[in-house]
Structures are given as C-alpha cells and as structure tokens.
C-alpha cells in the first residue's frame, strides 16, 4: 500500500514538475549560492545558487524517463531472446544462453559503467548502457517461462489442433510469458534507479547540469561538511522512491504467490 502511494506520488511529481518547482532547475543564480534550507529554498541551494528542491523535482522526470526507456528496451530485447531460446531449445538456446552468460560474467554496475563511458557520457547513453545490462535478467526469466509453458499440455493441444510453431510462439507462449516478465520488470525498477544514480554519482551517467539525482548527490560531495543539504535531499529521494518500488514489488510478489496467502 505505502509502496503504491510512493510510486504514484513519484510519477505525479514527474508529470507536474514544471508546476511544482518554484525555480528554474538549471539556470545559475550566483547571489543565492549555498543557502541553507529555508522557507524560500525548501532544500537550500547549491554552489551555483540553484534551488535544490526544484532540481530534485525536475530530477523525478529524468528518473521516470530512465525507468521507462530501460524497461522498454531491455524488456523487448530480453523477451525476444529469452522466448526464442526457451521455445526452440537445442543449439539456438545454447548459443543465446552463452551470450547471456558473457554479459552476466560482469558485475552489473561495472559493465554499465564501461558501456556508458565508452558510448560517451550522457543521459541517453547511460540509458542505453543500463538496458544492455538489464536485458539478461529478462532473457533468463523469459527463457525459463517459455520452457515451462512449452511443455504444458495446453501447448501440445494447440499443436495437435494443427497450429504452426510461429503461431504457437506468438499467440500462445508469448502472452503467457508477458505477465511474469512485466512483474519482473516492475521488481527491477528500483534497481534501475540505483544503477542510474550510481552512474550519475560517479560522473559516468547524466552530466551536469542535468538534474539527475545521483549527479546532484555528487555535486554536493565537496560541500558535504558545511552544506550537507545538497547531497542529502536528492539521496533521500532516491532512497524513498526505490523503497516505494521495492514495497510495491513485495506486494505484487505476495499477491502472485498463492502459497503465501492467508
């Protein structure tokens, strides 16, 4: 429940960011630099005098954009590769899964870092990099699902009725794989934000002055001792939103797992 509220709130903030944010998130306002939180600047200001609150609010848009694109890209690639491997099995499966293994041989963040840096630092390439890491999760799941579904009697029944492989794959196997894949993607959304923020923090993701949350935390590092607010508030937002996604994910898992019902 709390999770749902947080996630909905997060999305609403992203949608209405231009209305909610009192100041421009990017334009410097040097006279107002490094002001502590006050009624004028709820979360204080940074070294360029930009309002942290406005930057964080606009940051929500960026995070939503990241989640959306990564989910779509990695979901599509992963599902396509996963169900092909799972349904056809044999050599196709062997090859596709070894490729997946290669991507899985890296710790995720490190692979994302390398990809992002080599593609050229920036928001779009960071999204691409994260997608190229995330698809393996989807692929493994989609493969397992496809294999499970393929051996179900109702698929055999469709075959008995005379359906072709392509028809079975698209109309019968794919729809059944989709819902676990969507659930998995929802469960991963928290992780996606953490990865994106991590890249931003390291300077390998979204670049200043883009108000990406991880990048803002990084901005505040040098001012940590005196101007603690610059890093604290965006970090808090990351934590709360990821918490929201994780709570939501736990809730979905409980509903889907009939054994846990009570």
């Amino acid at each position: 429940m709390i999770g749902t509220f947080i996630v909905i709130g997060f999305i609403l903030i992203a949608i209405f960011a231009p209305i909610l944010a009192p100041y421009d998130p990017i334009k410097p306002n040097l006279p107002q630099r490094l002001k502590p939180p006050s009624s004028q600047h709820l979360f204080g200001t940074d070294q360029f005098g930009r309002d942290i609150f406005s930057r964080v609010i606009h940051g929500a848009r960026i995070e939503v954009w990241i989640i959306f694109l990564v989910t779509v890209i990695s979901g599509t690639i992963g599902t396509a590769i996963g169900i092909t491997a799972g349904y056809f099995g044999g050599a196709v499966d062997e090859i596709l899964m070894r490729i997946t293994d290669i991507f899985l041989a890296f710790p995720r963040l490190i692979l994302a870092m390398a990809l992002s840096a080599m593609l050229g630092r920036g928001l779009t390439n960071a999204i691409l990099a994260i997608s190229l890491v995330e698809w393996t999760v989807v692929a493994r799941l989609a493969r397992a699902e496809a294999m499970k579904i393929k051996s179900q009697p109702y698929i055999e029944a469709v075959k008995a009725v005379g359906a072709s492989n392509l028809r079975i794959l698209l109309f019968h196997v794919l729809p059944m794989c989709l819902s676990p894949v969507l659930v998995q993607l929802t469960l991963r959304m928290g992780t996606i934000i953490l990865t994106a923020a991590g890249l931003g923090f390291l300077g390998l993701g979204a670049q200043p002055p883009t108000p990406e949350w991880g990048a803002i935390v990084s901005d505040g590092r040098s001012y940590l001792v005196q101007q603690w607010w610059i890093s604290t508030f965006p970090g808090l937002f990351i934590a709360v939103v990821v918490l929201g996604f994780n709570l939501l994910g736990d809730g979905i898992r409980d509903i889907l797992d009939p054994r846990l019902r009570r």
């Binding site: 009697p153 055999e156 029944a157 008995a160 359906a163």
Partner: protein
C-alpha cells in the same frame, strides 16, 4: 471393419545426455511396437508408469517424432509427411489429454480454445464458428454462455468436457484419449466415460484409450493391448484379455486390481520394482519380476505368439 490405424515396428527413443561431454544414453519409451486399430473400435492401451503408453499415443499423432517405424492412417502413411501436409491429418486425428487443469490455455476464453482449430482448418465466418462452438458445447453437456468464461471457472469434469469439445469440433475420425479421467473423482469419471461412449456412437469415432485402470478398460474397450517397458506384452479382444489372459504380466495386473465389496483376495503380486526404462532387462523385459521366469527368459526375447485369431502374447510359456 477396415483398419484405421496401422502401426508397424514403431520406435521412440529419448536421448538423455547427462552432460555436454558424456555419451548419451537412450530411454526406449516405445520399442518396436506393431498393432492395428480397427475402425470404430475402442482400443485400450494399458500399462503402468514408464510403460510408454502415453508416448505411443503422442507418437502416433506425431506430436512427438518417431525414431523409426511407420504409422499408416486410413491407408496413407503419415510418418514422414511435412508439416504442411500433416495439417490435414491433424484435423482428423485428435487428442484429449490427461490433466484437465493444464490442458486448457489459462488466459483464453472457452470460445477461443475451441475455436482455434476451426480458424486453422476452415475458412469460416465468425458467426459460423460461433454456431459450431455452441453446437459442440451442447453435445458435451455444457451451455452456450460457457463460451465466454475462462477455464479456471470450471470444475475438473467440466474442463474435460471442454477438452473433448475442442477435439470434436474439428469432426475428427480418430481420437487418442490419454488417461482422460485419471485426474477426476470417480463420480465425475463415470459421467465423462458415459459421455465418451455416447459421442463415439453419434460420430462413429475410433478411440485409442490410454489408461492404467483395468476396470475402466473393462467398461470401455473393445480391444486391449498391455504394455510394459515400451513393449506390447499381450493384445487381443477385450474377452481375450479379461477371460483368457495368457501373459504373466497381464495376469498380475488383473490380480492387483482391488475388489469392491467382496472382501480380501489372495493375489500373486509381482515382486520387485518396474526397472529403469533406460536400462531394460535382457531377454524378456518382465523376467525380473515374473513368477514363471526361467533361464531362457533372461537370454532370449520371446516372439509374439498368436494364440487365437487376433490374440497375441509375448511370452515363452504362453502356449
């Protein structure tokens, strides 16, 4: 009566590879099976788990590709037809599977489940399809409004009726019934079996009835084949098997059936366990458990002796 299904020397081996590097072993699920199903009969295949009865049914429909042998349907060899040409035969040969809880696509409406085959095989307008589905649902004892429900809204018996409707809506001639009632309670089983008998009369169908339950065989079948470890041990008419059984395994199976309301009976239960089908015994595959086993049984596989017309038995001592 003509022969509808003629199976010759059919084999189906499954390859088991323990790892990439090791040599594969083979499970001989169906080992050199030959038999004929006369048109209009209910041909029962009886056996315990691992006997290959279910694999046999699927191989005949080419849901699993045979390793070798031939399958002749209505005079036409279908063993090596390509997918395109096989489609027409798929329409004529249908299957009802064992587990009604997994044999219906959980996300599709009953109308879509039954209509799928119609869309593949016939160029029909939606209203024609609708009428066909309605008609078949009524024949299996369901109602028109059931079309718009999902499988989970039905009981096991009703689901099995939907599966029967899915098979029959294509107007097939031949139906493989793979343990169609073993997942059902007896009171429901009785009604499904009665329905299957009635539908056979009505559409002059031929059934291949796969089961482990001899009492159901006695109730349903006209012909019986008894399988053990991939091989047919004995086959004949229902009376051949139930009155004049010759194979020790058939006798043992008959003996193991619990009696109802007549008190305890003394039985000769075969000792030991069913061997691993990947490592079948030498000679006669039943010799490890057979009360009559002699030295020859370990060494030589018995021939298929014809005891009387149509009654065959694979045992050295059945004559």
């Amino acid at each position: 009566m003509g022969i509808l299904i003629d199976v010759k020397n059919l084999k189906k081996y499954f390859e088991i590879r323990r790892s990439l590097l090791s040599k594969p072993t083979y499970v001989r699920a169906v080992e050199d099976v030959t038999f004929q199903i006369p048109e209009g009969s209910i041909y029962a295949i009886v056996g315990e788990s691992g006997s290959g009865k279910s694999t046999l049914g699927r191989t005949i429909l080419r849901l699993i590709e045979p390793t070798s042998g031939t399958i002749i349907y209505n005079g036409q060899e279908i063993t090596r037809l390509d997918n395109k040409r096989m489609i027409e035969y798929r329409r004529q040969m249908q299957i009802v599977q064992q587990d009604p809880y997994n044999s219906l696509h959980p996300r599709k409406l009953v109308k879509e489940i039954i209509g799928e085959g119609l869309k593949i095989h016939f160029k029909m307008r939606p209203d024609e399809i609708y009428l066909r589905i309605k008609e078949i649902l009524e024949m299996v004892g369901l109602r028109e409004e059931h079309m718009f429900r999902y499988p989970h809204e039905f009981s096991g018996g009703q689901r099995q009726r939907i599966a029967i409707a899915r098979a029959l809506v294509l107007r097939p001639k031949f139906l493989v019934l793979d343990e169609p009632t073993s997942a059902l309670d007896v009171s429901v089983q009785a009604r499904v079996l009665a329905l299957l008998k009635e539908l056979r009369e009505r559409f002059s169908l031929t059934y291949m009835f796969i089961t482990h339950n001899l009492a159901v065989v006695d109730y349903m079948a006209t012909q019986v084949a008894v399988m053990y470890l991939g091989k047919i041990m004995e086959l004949g008419s229902k009376d051949d098997i139930f009155q004049r059984a010759a194979h020790p395994y058939t006798l043992a199976l008959l003996d193991c059936v619990p009696s109802v309301g007549t008190g305890r009976k003394i039985r000769s239960v075969p000792r030991g366990e069913i061997p691993n089908p990947a490592k079948p015994p030498s000679g006669c595959v039943f010799h490890t458990r057979c009360p009559k086993a002699q030295k020859i049984c370990q060494e030589k596989e018995p021939e298929f002796y014809e005891l009387s017309p149509g009654h065959f038995c694979k045992c050295h001592f059945c004559k």
